[in-house]
Amino acid sequence: MKKYIPVIVLVLLLLTSSLLFWKGEDSLRKSSQNYTLFYFENTQSTTNNIKENLSFLIENNKLETINYKLTHLINNQEVFTETIEVKGNTIKKIAPSDKLFSEIKKIEGDSFMYQIKTNRNSNNFKLTKKISIE
């Protein structure tokens, strides 16, 4: 009996450690299923491809589908609005539509903004330097 005490204690400690590790992984997995990310794709691009520079991603880590109202603003002027559906656990890539390009060409200056409206909050994305209009 005495001989096995250290083994029993070590197993007990390793089992507790394993439980803590499993709980940590589970908590991270669950908490990362609980939010949505919005970000630009390839912000470091050196090309002048407007589609590449302005496209951005909505990464929906939630399980349910979310609908977003996407408003394109140029110099705070609304130029175009569309509805985007992002299914649960998917990434939606969004690039300016043809209609938006035609609007941009009419605008002078280098400020461009996306506004994404969700049920809970709004996300304004502004990118200025990367825009190149020919």
């Binding site: 005495k2 204690v9 400690l13 450690s17 803590l20 991270l28 609980n34 939010y35 990310l37 919005f38």
Partner: protein, 648 residues
């Protein structure tokens, strides 16, 4: 699942087997307390040996990768195992379990289980990595994993022994450091430090009382350190807070004292060798713990010399007494041992000098206290740190120890009989009684009046060490208090149950009050996941030359960003707590504050230029609105809780 199996195998391979086989190979006689000694020493020795191996192979410029992480500890383990199996005697393995032991084993196992439940229950809610200190430390562990060599810190704040084991286990297991893995290693270290103190309690007691009493004392010590005040610092809160150095220090210091005392008692060389290994292990792991141990040792040597000199002067045959003392110390004072220790020290110091061993770092720790936080804690703060109940019984323990040493000194039969002392005055009994008193006494002076010892270190950091000697002495205090009552007249004996309930009841009220927030799911987990997602985004989208600033005030787990980026230690820059920018003793940089607080002001803009900062990482709702409105910044990343801006 495979990840978990690999992690457990790596922990056993790196953190237990090297030490286990070293003990097995060198120990001649097994008088281990339930095998707990082997388990605890295995962990501590393994930490030290793994540090030595990788400090040495790093010096030889051999890369630290999966191959070498398996190879070198593997060679050591196999080598020691071969020695063990060659010299293995059947007698050593034969451990008889006395019937009386079963009761002790049962109680001990129940107490261990109870301590596991308290600590594990608290840690269950802290499993998502977010601690600031641990984030800083794990950057260096990941540095080892990523660049396959040990870092040169360039600052005295970090010591290599705090990072090697984490880096090596990450390499061996393949488990990411951004996980619960670092915390569970700290949990094992902390738990074994409870065993270390229990073993020390037993070792101290066995030197002057019988086995039965020593076992009861050991159990009481385990209760006072492992069950009562089990959450408060420096216990489980240090585990979740990632205070690596202190946790390892609190494992090594009791084991250093334990191996010293056991070497004196048993005369087994293995314990003097373990003492040397742990001493160098501590030196290469934590500056403050080494500093504390140095002061304790100095105090102990001075006090022991005073007591022994007084006794020698009173003896008729002085030369004979001195010879006797020398023969008792022979396990340390022999030429082979001294040469071996010097050789190990030279090899290690040639391989790497601890970063804190430089004149400027020593200057900042020694001298007249330079700040209000270094001039000492109030008595109330010390009581709070040690645990008021524990400190009270520690004071009683000190009184009993003083009576014991006095009783032995004057050879009082009455005291010996009353306190069931089995030994007479000698070097061993003097040492075992003085060490705990000096341990508590020195820490008390260092944290209450550091100016007396010319110590210039934040007093609360020293104070955090006090709970270990306080727990040890309180175990003795409670034991002898109850012993006096049971040994008293029949009338007094009747009071025993009432006294017992009062002692334990007040202990439970005081020591278990901090488990009220036992399990509380961290509400910030969702935000932490988003901080990690934002960090991954920055790691992917930005270059090494890009400078990022993040907000430490409001953003959780911000220091863990470093592990995703793996750039210079100081990139990302950090907006710290505002009080840190107001230092009356010297001018502090304020740009990290101004870049976030007033980004569009001339000051803010000039700071952005000076630091060439081009990305700002913030928690939503805290200072981000001015970036939203600014024409100087563009938002490039957003989630529900965090946001990243790029400077235009």
């Amino acid at each position: 699942m495979i990840e978990l199996i690999l992690l457990n195998l790596s922990i056993i391979f790196i953190l237990f087997l090297p030490g286990y086989f070293l003990i097995k190979a060198l120990r001649n006689k097994n008088d281990d307390l339930l095998g707990i000694e082997t388990l605890t020493l295995s962990l501590a020795i393994s930490i030290a040996l793994i540090d030595f191996i990788f400090i040495f192979i790093n010096k030889l410029q051999i890369p630290i990768n999966l191959f070498t992480v398996i190879l070198f500890p593997g060679i050591l383990i196999i080598g020691l195992a071969v020695i063990y199996f060659i010299k293995k005697s059947p007698l050593e393995e034969k451990i008889n379990t006395d019937k009386k032991d079963y009761k002790f084993i049962k109680i001990f196992l129940i107490l261990i289980l109870f301590a596991v439940v308290i600590k594990g229950g608290f840690l269950l809610s802290k499993t998502v990595p977010s601690s600031t200190d641990l984030g800083h430390h794990m950057y260096w562990a990941k540095y080892i994993q990523t660049f396959n060599h040990l870092p040169d810190y360039g600052m005295p704040d970090f010591i290599i022994g705090e990072h090697i084991i984490f880096g090596v286990i990450a390499i061996a297991s393949g488990v990411t450091l951004v996980s619960t893995m670092p915390m569970i290693i700290l949990f094992l270290i902390n738990f074994c430090s409870l065993f270390a103190l229990t073993l020390l309690g037993y070792e101290v007691a066995i030197n002057f009382t019988n086995k039965k009493n020593a076992k009861i004392i050991a159990l009481l010590v385990f209760i006072t350190i492992g069950i009562l005040y089990a959450i408060a610092s420096p216990q489980t809160k240090y585990v979740s807070g990632g205070v690596i150095g202190n946790l390892i220090g609190n494992l090594f210091i009791p084991l250093l004292i334990f191996s010293f005392l056991k070497a004196l008692r048993t005369k087994q060389k293995v314990y003097s060798i373990i003492f040397a290994i742990l001493l160098f292990g501590l030196i290469f792991t934590h500056h403050l713990s080494s500093f504390v141990f140095l002061f304790i040792s100095l105090g102990f040597i001075i006090l022991t010399l005073i007591v022994l000199t007084a006794k020698t002067l009173l003896n008729k045959n002085k030369l004979e007494t001195l010879k006797k003392y020398y023969s008792e110390l022979k396990v340390f004072l022999n030429i082979k041992y001294i040469i071996g220790v010097i050789f190990l020290g030279i090899i290690l110091l040639i391989s790497r000098i601890p970063s804190y061993l430089n004149p400027s770092a020593v200057d900042t720790a020694v001298g007249v206290p330079s700040k209000a936080t270094r001039t000492g804690l109030s008595l109330m703060s010390i009581l709070e740190t040690a645990g008021p109940w524990r400190f009270f019984y520690a004071a009683i323990g000190v009184i009993f120890f003083t009576i014991i040493i006095w009783g032995l000194f004057i050879n009082s039969k009455k005291i010996a009989e009353r306190l069931e002392l089995t030994e007479k005055f000698n070097l061993k009994t003097t040492v075992v009684i003085l060490f705990p008193i000096v341990w508590l006494g020195m820490l008390f002076i260092m944290s209450y009046k550091p100016g007396l010892l010319k110590i210039d270190i934040p007093s609360n950091r020293i104070g955090s060490y006090i709970s270990y000697p306080a727990a040890l002495l309180s175990g003795f205090g409670i034991f002898y208090l109850l012993k006096l009552i049971t040994g008293a007249s029949a009338g007094f004996k009747k009071l025993f149950p009432i006294v017992f309930i009062i002692v334990l009841g007040t202990g439970i009220i005081s020591g278990l009050s901090d488990i009220s927030n036992f399990y509380e799911e961290n509400s910030e987990n969702k935000t932490i996941s988003q901080v990690f997602a934002g960090s991954e985004f920055l790691a992917e989208k930005t270059e090494d030359s890009d400078i990022i600033i993040k907000d430490h005030i409001y953003m959780p787990a911000d220091t863990w960003m470093k592990l995703f980026l793996m750039r210079e230690y100081k990139n990302p820059l950090s907006r710290s707590f505002l009080k840190r920018y107001n230092d009356p003793t010297k001018n502090r940089e304020t740009c990290t504050r101004d870049m976030i607080a007033i980004p569009d002001s001339p000051v803010g803009q000039s700071c952005f230029k000076e630091y060439e900062t081009n990305y700002v990482f913030l928690k939503k709702g805290y200072d981000n609105q001015q970036f939203e409105n600014s024409s100087n910044f563009s938002k490039i990343f957003s989630s529900e809780d965090v946001v990243i801006f790029q400077r235009n």
